[in-house]
């Protein structure tokens, strides 16, 4: 049973993509960089290119970390839904298969300013 109920019961998912004004949510996090207390919540159009997402909101958000300015985005290792993954920077989020509420992660080996002492 998918819910304890007195009769047949179907829930309506609250955060469906069509309720987000033509845009979507994307979660992004930087592995081992926990100055940022949780993965970021980004709000973007599915037509936005991956390059715009990274060069715009993501690059700005990571600046408070002492490693923020040192990221070489061409060398970053990416994961999507916790699996290794290679984005195409010039294609859109949709074409890169980044759906609503997908989680992307990135790794920057060697950048460890605030890592465990």
């Amino acid at each position: 049973m998918t819910v304890a109920a007195i009769k047949e019961y179907v829930g309506v998912a609250r955060d469906r993509v069509e309720t987000f004004n033509g845009k979507q949510l994307v979660y992004a996090s930087w592995d081992h960089h926990l100055l940022f207390a949780a993965p970021f919540l980004l709000y973007a159009a599915p037509q936005m290119s991956f390059r715009e997402l990274v060069g715009g909101p993501l690059a700005a958000l990571v600046q408070p970390d002492p490693d923020g300015a040192a990221i070489d985005w061409t060398q970053v290792e990416w994961l999507k839904s916790n699996q290794p993954w290679t984005p195409d920077f010039d294609r859109s989020l949709a074409d890169n298969g980044i759906g609503h509420k997908d989680q992307i992660r990135f790794r920057t080996p060697g950048l460890t300013s605030l890592a465990a002492a």
């Binding site: 007195i6 998912a13 469906r16 207390a37 949780a38 958000l61 408070p64 839904s81 605030l114 465990a116």
Partner: protein, 505 residues
């Protein structure tokens, strides 16, 4: 002349029989199933409702008398507190944040508990159970009222108290408590009793109320101490009711065991997540600290909780599934959550701050294996940014857990450097969780949790990311209620008024 005839006094047992058990009747126009339609669908089998024991044997007349007496005492002290500027006796204005957490997250929970017990008091067939639930329903609304009244005195002088009901419903750090109660109130009567009566009242109360009340006593807050005392004798009754309910279910039918165990696993974990707020309050928000969250966990979690589950082992109950993960997170959770509160403080109806050197030394003494290693470097860096005039604000907001609704500030149980990523798909939608515990809760009843109203997605869904419009909607007054304590209006007022009260200048 009329002779006065002494009325025969009823014995306690006799009185309980007449004024409780005798209030019930066998329905004749409708079947029992029609009168009590919600008592079977959860799968709990009950053969004899009269086996429900009420060890207090409290009857309504006596209950009413005790409670009235407590109310009189409570309001006398609260009035004196208001008249004597009791708010200036607290140790420091930072302490107010602990009160704001309490009023925004916990007092509305009392009200929710009131609604829930009113409902289950109607839904349970046993008359002993009905009366006990009715009393608890009245207790809980009294708790909500006395807390709101006690804290209203602070609302006259400080920010962040004025819209606690909006903050409770809409503010991201409060929805953990809100969703806990919404989840319980939308469950059946037996699950509600496990959620509130057993997990919340019995397993977690000591970790929730004791820290707040002793924190209040240590920090000169008479108003809060007073409502704590006024509620204390009620809590003894609530804990007993919760324990009685669980034993009753387990004794009625062996088939009840797996259902009860599943609820214990779920509600332990949900309650543990609510405690994240409490851990942060204990370790960071009390100017004069009582004990660390780790120390409280050792006493109330490990010792008391351990003894309880040992006692329940004879019914076949084992400790809750999330117990080991909980233990692994104890030395991390308060730091993780305070870092979040600070970096998102533009969106909180309370103030947070960067811990001082003295605070950090205390934290490293209390958390010798984790604080210096993982958390001090982050606070040091945040402090450096602040010194450069760049207060750290994380406008990236946060991914929230679909079940407990907290920002996913938690790390892997076995790797404190790695944020905990958990996700699943259900009917084509993606869902994210803060932990295995929350993911399990979701997967057992996805149709329930897909509907969760998550506060951060709502900022985009309903306000297209317009933070100003969102602030109006949560009744947050920018520049007054939010941000760093240092430089806040609360700080300025508290220090000025306290100066007037304690010096000649």
């Amino acid at each position: 002349m009329d002779m006065k005839v002494a009325k025969k006094k009823l014995g306690l047992k006799e009185k309980y029989r007449l004024m409780t058990r005798d209030l019930g009747w066998e329905p004749s126009y409708r079947t029992k199933d029609e009168v009590f339609p919600y008592v079977k669908y959860e799968g709990i089998k009950v053969h004899d409702w009269d086996k429900w024991e009420d060890p207090f044997r409290l009857t309504m007349d006596a209950y009413w008398k005790y409670q009235a007496e407590k109310e009189r005492k409570f309001y006398a002290i609260i009035d004196a507190h208001a008249q004597n500027n009791g708010h200036l006796n607290i140790t420091d204005g930072r302490y107010l944040s602990a009160l704001k957490v309490f009023l925004q997250a916990i007092s509305p929970g009392e009200y929710a508990a009131h609604k829930g017990f009113s409902r289950v008091g109607r839904e349970f067939p046993g008359v002993g159970t009905q009366v006990a639930c009715q009393m608890q329903a009245i207790d809980e609304i009294r708790h909500a009222q006395t807390q709101i009244h006690a804290l209203s005195n602070y609302n006259k002088y400080y920010n962040g108290f004025h819209a606690f009901a909006d903050a409770r419903d809409r503010m991201w750090y409060n929805t953990v408590a809100r969703s806990f109660f919404d989840d319980a109130m939308s469950a059946g009567p037996f699950e509600f009793m496990i959620a509130i009566g057993f997990s919340f009242e019995y397993v977690l109360t000591n970790l929730l109320f004791v820290p707040f009340m002793s924190g209040a006593a240590y920090n000169g807050d008479m108003a809060t101490v007073t409502f704590g005392f006024s509620a204390q004798s009620d809590e003894a009754r609530h804990m007993t009711l919760g324990l009685e309910c669980i034993k009753f279910m387990l004794e009625q039918d062996p088939d009840n065991l797996p259902i009860v165990q599943g609820w214990l696993d779920k509600w332990f974990w949900r309650g543990f997540r609510v405690l994240g707020l409490v851990s942060t309050m204990m370790d960071y928000m009390l100017p004069k600290r009582v004990m660390s969250w780790r120390e409280a966990w050792e006493i109330y979690g490990v010792e008391n909780g351990g003894a309880l589950f040992k006692d329940l082992a004879r019914y076949g109950i084992r400790p809750p599934k999330g117990w080991d993960d909980a233990e692994k997170s104890i030395d991390h959770m308060s730091h993780q959550f305070m870092l979040g509160l600070y970096q998102w403080s533009f969106g909180t109806s309370l103030h947070s701050w960067i811990p001082s050197d003295e605070d950090m030394d205390w934290l490293s003494a209390k958390y010798p294996t984790t604080f210096d290693k993982y958390y001090r470097p982050r606070w040091d860096h945040i402090r450096k940014l602040a010194a450069e005039g760049k207060q750290f604000k994380n406008f990236g907001l946060a991914k929230l857990c679909q079940t407990c609704q907290l920002p996913v500030v938690f790390t892997e149980p076995d790797d404190p450097t790695m944020s905990c990523h958990r996700e699943t798909s259900y009917k084509g939608e993606k869902y994210h969780f803060c932990s295995d515990g929350c993911q399990h809760v979701f997967e057992n009843e996805p149709e329930k949790y897909v509907q969760a109203w998550l506060p951060m997605p709502a900022l985009f869904r309903e306000f297209e990311g317009d933070v100003g419009a969102w602030m109006d909607w949560v009744s947050l007054r920018d520049g007054q209620d939010n941000g760093d304590y240092v430089g806040s209006i609360d700080q300025r007022n508290f220090e000025q008024w306290r100066g007037l009260a304690t010096s000649n200048t």
